[in-house]
């Protein structure tokens, strides 16, 4: 090709030279002096370069050579304009980098297929509390068994329940998270153990020999990856368990509901005890191949109806089905898609800015373009040259952006909220790169074409004669369209961020019902002799609380089964013992917490009526209950609850007397309203695990060592875990809102900056181009202030169009994030008004410098010098 090209090129050269020689000779014959003759011949021939171009075009011998030449030319031009090049590449890199990082997160968390066999068939089944609108309630043993045995739509179902155990025998006793799972659970997921076997049906039978399976991580950490560990025994919660299997390293146990990390698995045995527990199971099923979710739902709802007829406890309960992938990513989905949308807008903004910059750059080179056109370059050549230049900028920006995305993703993952699932599968991989690269190419084409089109189609002739004297309307108009676009995108991003900020503020302002400051919480679990009997458990925790209260600096210390913001706990049906059901024929589901008297004082939970637990609460005494205001109001509206007898479906049914009413407490998070709660006495219902809550007169963090040593003097082998301050727990519960707020806030900040720079760029260019017009206005007597106002008014008008468009789009977009908002609507007027005002201010501020420059134009010189 190149050889062919050079031969053809030489022949062309020969022909041209010969032609010019003949022409020169002819003119000499006609009597012209040789020098003049040659010049005339050349002139007559016209643009030699252009001629060559046209011939080449006819011959079709150009693309690769032209591209190489355009590239060299672009590098030369860009090197001469380092500021423009840096600004463009950085802006583009910012957009691509941010987009790539966010796409990695969204893909890894939401879109990447789950690492199980045919993950689309896996479904989570919940009980549905119809009267109270709880769609996802845990499942009772009986219902799980009925579903599993009766359904035809499912290949199989498995139940799970989180189980945290104390592991003795190592250097230190260790609390290890795990789960009890139905035998067949791993087969159901389609993941086989790397070593050993899964549980058998026999091991499901209550009272079988205790067995355990290990996660790969735990196996390596605790046993150094020794394969001989199979069949050996592990002392767990005081009983030796035989190790039967080890899961592969790539196995990610599904996490949803109250199922957290898992390192150990035990067979779930439906003992009589557990049957009496009420609802506490998580259920996963695998649909028959080809079975639709809707079809399965119809069958399951029918089964739930049968169950409601069979057992009054199921009255008002139905069933709900959710795909496992949707269940795992669940409510994170909306957050991530809002962030994804925001980063898309940011990228669009960056592209718009790059287009503005390039357009201004091309305009500044109009003279050069005109000259090149005059000596014979065609519009197409110029277009391609400018496009090559933009492609070079785009490629550099993309490379930089992708490079920055890798540490960016790591940074993002490090402050991603802990409850976001599957963070381990977040990475910049081939799929992400493909998406980003496509976005980058599309973006480059958009800004590149816009700029190249402007640059190559100017009227060359007039530009040569008088640079900048004849401005056509369209380039200016397109500049203004860019201004409006940037302002509009800025409005949308700022509105999203503004809504999140306002929502976050209202979340933080929620009265949680307890004092989070200066309270340390820690979990204590007993094992061995101490946990043997209720009496020994009670004695130990009494002694522990006594010991802690004696530590200097401790104001109060109490016990509770599960700390506020400590995750879901047991909940069950509560009614009035003298009225079997409430008037509507429905029962009330209340959270159950076990606490001692000092717990309420430690957390500053007010006693509204009656009294708290006292010395009478013993394992053999009559049970008594303290209820919160919501429960009191629900069961005995308008009455004094004290003295009534409650009926709680727990321990085969208890009927405690109500002795006190306390203030409502947010047990789960700040977002949902406090639920009905019944407190039973910790000393009446002892347990082997309690949360210790301690109010101190200093920084909670600095108190932790004294707490540890107090516990160690009681028993050096006792694990103290999940030690943290209540304030930290509350903060963690807001982590996702904080994450979203920060991220959207960051995007909005960048967007506002880009909008400001973009508006400045367009108007600065505009004023520079209109110097002559402004000079004439001033020479004809226009006042400088009126010129200033003219420019500002124009800017304001364009910005107003952008603000209007932005508000319209934001109203639509914000609706998608309504479920993320707390305490404000998606059309929050305060947010919209302040964002609109902010954008108009930014537009005005950005135009101020060009406007002042315009007002300072020296009238006469400008007119004279053109």
């Amino acid at each position: 090709m190149l050889l062919h090209r050079s031969v053809a090129e030489r022949a062309l050269q020969d022909e041209v030279l010969f032609h010019v020689e003949c022409e020169t000779a002819e003119r000499i014959r006609q009597g012209m002096p040789p020098e003049a003759a040659r010049r005339a011949a050349l002139l007559d021939f016209g643009g030699v370069e252009r001629f060559k171009e046209e011939v080449r075009e006819v011959r079709g011998i150009r693309p690769i050579e032209d591209f190489a030449r355009d590239l060299r030319y672009a590098v030369r031009v860009l090197r001469r304009s380092p500021v423009f090049t840096a600004a463009t590449v950085l802006t583009f890199a910012l957009g691509i980098g941010a987009a790539t990082a966010i796409v990695s997160v969204v893909y890894g968390v939401v879109l990447r297929p789950l690492p199980y066999l045919n993950p689309n068939e896996l479904t989570v089944l919940w009980e549905r509390d119809v009267p109270h609108g709880h769609d996802q309630n845990v499942v009772s043993v009986e219902n799980f068994e009925a579903w599993r045995d009766r359904s035809r739509s499912f290949l199989g179902m498995a139940a799970l329940v989180p189980a945290r155990v104390t592991l003795a025998g190592g250097a230190e006793p260790e609390r290890v998270p795990g789960a009890e799972v139905s035998p067949g659970y791993f087969r159901l997921l389609g993941v086989a153990p790397a070593l050993g076997r899964e549980f058998t049906r026999e091991e499901e039978a209550a009272g079988g020999a205790p067995v355990v399976m290990l996660s790969d991580g735990f196996w390596r950490r605790r046993f150094g990856g020794d394969p001989g560990i199979l069949g050996r025994s592990l002392p767990i919660s005081g009983r030796p368990h035989t190790i039967v299997g080890i899961m592969p390293a790539r196995f990610e146990p599904p996490r949803f509901g109250w199922l957290g990390e898992q390192d150990l698995w035990f067979p779930f045995a439906p003992t009589a005890d557990k049957r009496a527990w009420g609802r506490f199971l998580l259920v996963v099923g695998r649909l028959q191949p080809g079975m639709g979710l809707e079809q399965a739902r119809a069958e399951m709802v029918a089964i739930a109806r049968q169950r409601a007829r069979e057992d009054t406890a199921n009255k008002g309960w139905s069933i709900s089905l959710v795909g496992l992938a949707e269940q795992i990513t669940g409510d994170v989905r909306t957050t991530l898609f809002v962030i994804l949308g925001a980063v898309g807008l940011l990228l669009l903004m960056a592209v718009t800015n790059v287009a503005t910059l390039t357009l201004a750059f091309v305009r500044r080179r109009r003279h050069e373009m005109a000259v090149r056109r005059a000596i014979g370059a065609t519009d197409r050549r110029l277009f391609r040259q400018l496009l090559t230049q933009s492609a070079l900028l785009g490629a550099a920006g993309t490379a930089l952006g992708l490079l920055a995305a890798v540490p960016g993703v790591r940074l993002l993952v490090s402050f991603i909220p802990p409850e976001v699932p599957r963070t381990a599968s977040i990475r910049v991989d081939a799929v992400v790169l493909l998406v980003s690269a496509s976005a980058a190419i599309l973006a480059t084409l958009i800004f590149g074409t816009a700029a190249a089109d402007r640059g190559s189609s100017d009227d060359g002739t007039s530009a040569v004669i008088s640079e900048g004297s004849q401005e056509r309307v369209s380039p200016r108009r397109s500049g203004y369209a860019l201004v409006a676009t940037e302002i509009a995108i800025g409005v949308v991003l700022a509105v999203l961020a503004g809504l999140m900020v306002r929502s976050f503020e209202s979340l933080r302002a929620v009265n949680l019902g307890f004092l989070a400051e200066e309270v340390v919480v820690a979990r204590v679990a007993l094992s061995g002799d101490r946990s043997a009997t209720p009496e020994s458990q009670r004695a130990f925790f009494d002694a522990l609380a006594e010991r802690v209260r004696a530590i200097p600096g401790v104001r109060a210390a109490g016990l509770v089964s599960i700390r506020p913001f400590g995750g879901a706990g047991p909940a069950t049906t509560v009614g009035d013992a003298r009225r079997p059901t409430t008037r509507d024929g429905e029962s009330i589901v209340a959270d159950i917490r076990y606490a001692d008297r000092s717990y309420f004082r430690t957390l500053g939970i007010p006693t509204i009526a009656g009294s708290l637990f006292d010395e009478r609460e013993r394992p053999d005494g009559p049970p008594r209950v303290v209820v919160n205001e919501t429960l009191a109001r629900a069961l005995w509206p308008g009455e004094n609850a004290i003295g009534h007898t409650a009926a709680i479906k727990l321990f085969n049914g208890i009927t405690p007397e109500v002795i006190g009413v306390v203030g409502d407490v947010h047990l789960m998070d700040a977002r949902t309203l406090p639920r009905a709660t019944a407190y039973l006495a910790a000393s009446r219902f002892p347990s082997e695990v309690f949360d210790l809550a301690v109010q101190v007169d200093r920084d909670p963090e600095s108190f932790v060592p004294s707490l540890r040593s107090a516990v160690a003097t009681l028993d050096p082998g006792l694990p103290l875990y999940q030690v943290t301050s209540l304030r930290k727990l509350v903060d963690q519960s807001l982590a996702r809102d904080r994450f979203t707020t920060l991220l959207l806030g960051g995007f909005a900040g960048i967007a506002l900056l880009l909008a400001g720079v973009g508006v400045y760029g367009v108007f600065a260019g505009d004023v520079a181009r209109r110097r002559k017009e402004i000079g004439i206005r001033l020479a004809l007597g226009a006042r400088r202030s009126s010129v200033l106002l003219l420019i500002l008014r124009q800017a304001l008008a364009r910005a107003a169009v952008g603000v209007f468009l932005g508000v319209v789009v934001a109203l639509l977009v914000a609706r998608a994030m309504a479920s993320l908002l707390f305490g404000i609507g998606a059309a929050d007027p305060l947010t919209f008004v302040s964002v609109a005002a902010a954008l108009l201010t930014i537009a005005l501020a950005a135009t101020l410098i060009p406007a002042i420059q315009a007002a300072r134009v020296p009238p006469i010189e400008t007119v004279r010098n053109g």
């Binding site: 020969d14 010969f18 032609h19 021939f45």
Partner: protein
């Protein structure tokens, strides 16, 4: 500076003139072709050089004329063009088309005069 845009009519006409010139002559080089057209049109038609060579290459690509290497009187390597058989056919149809076209224009003009 006038715009040097060629219309389709002019381009088509130039092709016709080149083919016709070569039909009644021994092989000619580019400059000679342009001079010959100029002379035969009694200096009315001057061929724009910028159009001539693209036209020559285009005709050559169509296979209507063939270029061959030759030597100028000064011994410089030049390219001489001559008509091919396909070019002769093309010339016939272009002449026919031109007759129809110019006749039609004449009719219009005469009609307008009367």
């Amino acid at each position: 500076m006038a715009k040097e845009k060629k219309s389709d009519l002019l381009q088509g006409t130039l092709d016709l003139l080149i083919l016709n010139t070569l039909a009644t002559s021994h092989p000619l080089h580019g400059w000679a072709i342009s001079k010959r057209i100029q002379q035969m049109s009694r200096e009315v038609l001057t061929v724009n050089q910028g159009s001539l060579y693209p036209a020559l290459y285009r005709l050559e690509d169509h296979g209507w004329i063939a270029g061959e290497e030759g030597l100028s009187p000064e011994g410089r390597r030049i390219k001489l063009y001559q008509l091919t058989a396909a070019g002769r056919n093309q010339l016939a149809s272009e002449v026919e088309a031109w007759r129809i076209f110019s006749g039609a224009v004449d009719h219009v003009l005469l009609g307008a005069l009367s």
